[in-house]
């Protein structure tokens, strides 16, 4: 856990979170073949698109100009974001806890002729030096599957002063309206907002983490970040459906946020 645990900042977090890394590695080993199938298309995209609605970065403007930046992708999976960052002139490093996902990423690197470091590690304990990156990014990665009370301090440690953390999470309201991982949200609030943190869904065995808005703001601020933006993604009126049964259809997502991108900057 490195410096953050050593100085006591995390010692009061519940012990139950200790096993989620193993649980999530197991779950993602199971999901990996499906994402291996999706990887060539994601790697082949010229423009980076966010989330399941494929909203282009050029429309959202979540990222700074990444040319020349050292970037770390936390929970990179098949590393298609790092591939895009690399093509835009960044020097990416991808980290992930699941060897099967990293295998796909390496195969894609060979196929697309791109080469950058891929590390098997948890975003909660990254074996890389302090202040060595300009951008920490996560899309449906550590942002959802790692404990924010551990990975946000790690991101702060890894970033240089002025560096950005940009991460996409599930919509907060959507999480409150979701019964389990395999069913899309309805309109009913099925669980309380106060106390949101660790989520264990019925069905598949992964453990997710979701915080309320105020908790995200305080966590970022306490770790030296200035909160710059919260981009709540509304998909365009028409387009291809996504393939994830637990996520809402376009009609729901046009009314309430299904995906949210936090943008924060480490104070100089």
């Amino acid at each position: 856990m490195g410096a953050q645990l050593a100085d006591g900042a995390d010692l009061d977090r519940p012990q139950e979170t200790m096993s989620h890394v193993d649980r999530n590695r197991e779950a993602w080993t199971e999901f990996a073949p499906e994402f291996a199938e999706l990887a060539p298309r994601a790697w082949g995209r010229d423009e980076f698109e966010w989330g399941v609605w494929n909203v282009p970065e050029s429309e959202l403007g979540a990222l700074p100009d990444v040319a020349g930046m050292d970037t770390v992708e936390l929970g990179c999976g098949t590393a298609y974001i790092s591939a895009w960052l690399s093509r835009r002139g960044a020097r990416p490093v991808g980290i992930d806890i699941t060897p099967a996902q990293l295998e796909t990423a390496r195969r894609m690197q060979a196929e697309f002729g791109l080469d950058f470091p891929l590390l098997e590690a948890s975003a909660e304990d990254v074996p890389l030096p302090d202040e060595s990156f300009d951008l920490a990014i996560s899309e449906y990665g550590a942002s959802i599957w790692a404990d924010p009370y551990r990975w946000i301090p790690e991101a702060a440690r890894l970033l240089r002063p002025g560096g950005h953390v940009v991460f996409l999470v599930n919509g907060t309201i959507m999480i409150l309206c979701s019964a389990d991982e395999e069913l899309p949200p309805g309109r009913e609030l099925l669980r309380p907002y106060f106390g949101m943190h660790r989520f264990e869904w019925d069905g598949t065995g992964g453990i997710e983490f979701h915080l309320g808005y105020g908790d995200w703001i305080r966590l970022l601020r306490e770790n030296g970040f200035a909160v710059e933006n919260l981009i709540e993604i509304q998909p365009p009126p028409a387009g291809e459906p996504h393939r994830f049964p637990g996520l809402p259809d376009r009609e729901w997502a046009r009314r309430w946020p299904s995906e949210e991108i936090w943008v924060a900057r480490k104070r100089s």
């Binding site: 309201i173 409150l176 309206c177 309109r187 009913e188 609030l189 099925l190 309380p192 907002y193 106060f194 309320g212 808005y213 105020g214 703001i217 305080r218 601020r221 200035a226 909160v227 710059e228 933006n229 919260l230 981009i231 709540e232 509304q234 046009r254 009314r255 309430w256 946020p257 949210e260």
Partner: protein, 249 residues
């Protein structure tokens, strides 16, 4: 009729009844926030106010500003309703205090730039004025490093209000995207924004985000604003929140 005229007429009409209904609940001896009157001494939103120039947006009968004056602040109260300010003048006289009360909507406050250390509202003008107009005004009125803090409604409250049934429900009724101006057939025009919209509005006006306090009332907390059922709803989902932002130096 413009929104500020409609809301002025509403508050002129309802001021007497409002002050009568809530007089005891909000007329406390120490500053308290919101529908459940949680003490500032616990929430610590404004911090030390002694010697500070403080503007209250939507001061009503000036309950807050009177208490802040007692703590050594130099308050100014602004309200869009002349009838509310008449109540405030009576209260100032009763307290033996004299500080400025200004009759104006929060969108256009006739006071000089950079003249306050704190601008705040407790379910005040922030609920009844357009944020795209009053947040820039607050930025203009604050000195560099000054604090803006305001309590109000939440997107959850707006979305989960079942208007035909006239009650809060654990269910989404109104859309989140596009939330801004909320019209009620016989009430005032109210305003609420999505979280991301608030954040961008603060940043665009030179504010740094400090906190978002989402108020969970204590069990069985009393309120003259809310029924017991509504307070129970608010134990699960945010019905009241306080934004705290600071103007960059």
């Amino acid at each position: 009729m413009s929104d500020f005229e409609q809301n002025r007429a509403f508050w002129d009409r309802h001021s007497d009844e409002y002050q009568q209904t809530h007089r005891e609940h909000i007329g406390r001896s120490e500053p308290r926030w919101g529908m459940w009157q949680l003490p500032e001494s616990e929430l610590k939103v404004l911090g030390d106010v002694a010697g500070k120039d403080i503007l209250e947006l939507g001061c009503g009968a000036a309950q807050w500003s009177i208490l802040l004056a007692g703590l050594g602040a130099r308050p100014v109260g602004v309200d869009n309703s002349e009838r509310q300010l008449e109540h405030a003048r009576d209260a100032l006289a009763a307290a033996g205090l004299d500080f400025p009360l200004v009759h104006a909507p929060a969108e256009t406050v006739p006071l000089p730039d950079a003249s306050f250390d704190i601008v705040f509202a407790d379910h005040g003008a922030n609920r009844f004025a357009d944020p795209y107009a009053w947040v820039p005004e607050a930025a203009r009125l604050l000195r560099p490093g000054g604090l803006l803090a305001f309590s109000g409604s939440t997107p959850f409250e707006v979305m989960c209000w079942n208007e035909p049934a006239d009650r809060m429900e654990p269910e989404l009724h109104l859309d989140y995207f596009g939330m801004h101006r909320i019209e009620d057939s016989d009430g005032p025009v109210q305003f609420e924004l999505p979280y991301g919209e608030w954040i961008r509005l603060f940043r665009a006006n030179g504010f740094e985000l400090e906190d978002l306090r989402e108020i969970q009332p204590p069990p069985r907390a009393e309120s003259t604003y809310r029924t017991a059922e509504e307070t129970e709803w608010a134990r699960n989902w945010p019905m009241e929140q306080i934004w705290i932002v600071r103007k960059k130096r």
